[in-house]
Symmetry: C2
Subunit: 95 residues, 2 copies
DNA sequence: GGCGCATATGCGCTTTAAGGCATATGCCAG
DNA sequence: CTGGCATATGCCTTAAAGCGCATATGCGCC
């Protein structure tokens, strides 16, 4: 649980998670562009999420496609859903 | 959101949160005993939770009573509920 | 006012996370 | 098999977190 929460408790990782949470596949190049991060930085952060069991990856030619882990425990997914929902709400309230 | 998640992403703080989440008031002495932590350690962790807006404190004679922040945004409370539920479930599954 | 309990905090130390840079690896095209 | 793109990783430095110890503060009791 601690590793899981630590993985989420980072601005870039959470932003990446929001993108990946659409259910689709996303390569590192796409994420680093959208999140304005360097390549090594983005790669490492995705590794952290992967080690936490939150996402999985797949080789596809010269790309690596990341997507949410379909086998993630539902309670864990519920936590992420709650976090993303809360973040969206806070932003809207603050704006 | 990051400060909020970071505050939760710690074993002792999460354990303290679980205790405090019963809605009652709890002094540092009680928490340090239940969680087997030194006084300064416990005090600092509670300060972290307080700064994150998750709990509030109240002077009561020589004690300081901590309790969950009644003004915590419902979405944030929902996140904590989800985390505590997930943790309970994982423990039960693992055992 | 002095003592004792409960809590907070300054200081120093140790550990860990993060990021940039350079380089290695995997894969495709030609 | 060579070159180029996408990604991962080793190395190093810096920043931050956590902790213990000692001490300060707040409060009640006598």
């Amino acid at each position: 649980m601690q590793a899981f929460l630590s993985a989420i408790a980072d601005p870039i990782r959470l932003a990446a998670l929001r993108i990946v949470w659409d259910g689709g596949e996303h390569c590192v190049c796409e994420l680093m562009e959208k999140l304005d991060a360097t390549q090594s930085r983005m790669s490492r952060h995705m590794k952290t999420l992967k080690l936490a069991g939150i996402i999985v990856d797949r080789r596809d030619a010269q790309w690596v496609r990341y997507r949410r882990n379909p086998d993630l425990a539902p309670e864990m997914a519920a936590v992420i859903d709650a976090v993303l929902a809360a973040e969206s709400l806070s932003e809207r309230t603050a704006a």
